[in-house]
């Protein structure tokens, strides 16, 4: 099993797990406290501060580690909400068919006809910007994409013989969805999950950068860019570290998702 992992996927897995471990054990590995002022403004990298300090003298490595924790936590929760809502509604639409399917699908078309960043900004203009609200707004907006995929997959599966058999033996809809469709739709959904997760990381970073995401003193990667962006014009690159972090996380999750996708499509009966 382990031997069969291609090189690119192994690198992806390594970095992805590294980031997740750093996020989980943030308080243990971070050298200083999250909002602790420990030095001067924008000190260069030194033995005490491996990445230097930020705009008010906090240790940048510490901020990055805690920032990763916040970003990854929010992105994971939002992906979870997006998948549970999107796939359950998508399966329901496929199984029920008729007007329920029409109503759900047309509503999703409507929501997707506006860029999700614009819709998120409109909604956040009247909502208190807190972590649960952010997770909910991002998750629900993104669930439209999962809905489309889940519905497309489930419509195909719904006409398979084994589903027909289950219907004929008189199984209920809940059984059909969770015992017949879900196991067979899982692999395309899991591959999609990687992409949605990256999208969530980019989404929350963008919102925080615009000042409408995670609020200070809590750290997150987009927020670190916002806090340190003024240093750029003086030639201080503190705002660029999150770029490296986000890009490497996104690329490594992509590599893993590609690998999962390739494995599932090579299986017999997998969807192309």
């Amino acid at each position: 099993m382990i031997k069969n992992i291609p090189f690119a996927a192994a690198i992806g897995l390594f970095f992805t797990s590294l980031y997740f471990l750093a996020a989980i054990f943030a308080p243990v590995i971070a050298p200083y406290g999250m909002a602790e002022v420990v030095g001067g403004v924008w000190e260069p990298a030194s033995a005490d501060h491996l990445l230097g300090t930020d705009n008010i003298g906090r240790d940048l490595l510490t901020r990055m580690i805690y920032g990763g924790q916040t970003t990854i936590f929010i992105a994971t929760m939002a992906t979870f909400i997006s998948f549970t809502t999107g796939s359950v509604l998508g399966f329901l639409a496929a199984v029920l068919g008729g007007w329920a399917d029409q109503a759900l699908s047309r509503f999703v078309d409507l929501v997707m006809s506006i860029p999700s960043l614009i819709l998120a900004l409109v909604i956040l203009s009247v909502m208190p910007v807190t972590v649960p609200v952010l997770v909910l707004v991002m998750g629900l907006l993104d669930s439209t994409r999962v809905f489309r995929l889940a519905r497309a997959v489930a419509v195909d599966i719904n006409v398979m013989d084994y589903v027909e058999a289950a219907k004929l033996r008189g199984e209920g809809r809940v059984w059909i969805i969770f015992r017949e469709i879900l196991p067979n739709a899982l692999s395309p959904l899991v591959a999609e999950m990687g992409l949605r997760f990256i999208f969530m990381v980019l989404f929350i970073s963008t919102l925080s950068f615009l000042g409408l995401g995670v609020q200070p003193p809590l750290a997150d990667w987009g927020g670190i860019v916002k806090e340190n962006k003024d240093g750029i014009v003086y030639g201080i690159g503190a705002a660029l570290y999150p770029a490296v972090a986000i890009a490497t996380l996104a690329i490594s999750v992509n590599l893993v998702a590609d690998w999962v996708l390739n494995r599932t499509t090579s299986l017999k009966g997998g969807r192309g």
């Binding site: 409507l110 929501v111 006809s113 506006i114 860029p115 960043l117 614009i118 819709l119 900004l121 409109v122 909604i123 956040l124 203009s125 009247v126 909502m127 208190p128 990256i198 980019l202 970073s205 963008t206 950068f209 615009l210 000042g211 409408l212 987009g222 860019v225 962006k229 750029i232 014009v233 003086y234 030639g235 690159g237 705002a239 660029l240 999150p242 770029a243 986000i246 890009a247 996104a250 690329i251 992509n254």
Partner: protein
Amino acid sequence: MGPTMTLVAQRLALGILLLFLVSILIFVGTLILPGDVAQSILGQSATPEALANLRAELGLNEPAVTRYFDWLGGVLTGDLGTALTNGRDIAEAMGTRLSRTLFLAFWAAVVAVPLAIFLGLLAVRYRDRWPDKLISAITLSTISIPEFLIGYVLMYFVGVKLGWAPTVANIHDGMSLGQKLHTIALPVAVLTLVVLAHMMRMTRAAILNVMQSAYIETAELKGLPMFQIIWKHAFPNSIAPVVNVVMLNLAYLVVGVVVVEVVFTYPGMGQYLVDHVSKRDLPVVQACGLVFAAVYIGLNMIADIVSILANPRLRHPK
């Protein structure tokens, strides 16, 4: 009326219907949410009098349906209301900003579209060899980085370290076109990079799709050189999908503009929207949201109409 015109008319009607529904969605999105809008605008420490005043000003005492139709009627006659924060007319403030945003997006498109098509053709020509792999590796990594980070990376290296372009895109009407272009060089570069990746990959896929056809094989067997096959045979047949790709990405540009404007403090629509979201200036946010949605829906509609018009099967009804 031929089947083409019928389809185009249907698509136009659908676009207008969609726009109408989106206006409802935007209105309801700022309405149904829990809590009192006036309270969340003014904060917890607001006095009851201030709350009552704001409610009256927003018309919150009237039923939602009345307010929606008042708002919609205003929008249709070009009256977007006044901003809560400074009491200025929104349509007026938005006019100049919208033209600046379109200016930025236009130049980004002028650079990105030919470049994307050229790179797409190049990738097809050298498929699975190093130029193709290099292009796809670079585009994959630009997709993985959010727009604002590309912006700061360019600002740091090109703007500050090399000093080739201004880091703040402070544009005003007194500038000549050359000065303006120099000022927006960096934002245009960022927007180009952002859409280039998607556009190039989709172009590559669209042309590769055409390359599988039998007439391409015939041309190959005739001994035509590869670039001539692509240029003379594959490209004309892939115009429809490529135009579709271009339009979809221009729509994507609309979103990129919001972030890039904030990065380079470019005084356009995006910055206007973001500023007023954090100030919770509801009328401005609604108006901006509607304009962005309208541009997005419009471009998508044009993409669909072009692919209907370019479909030869519809031009010759049975």
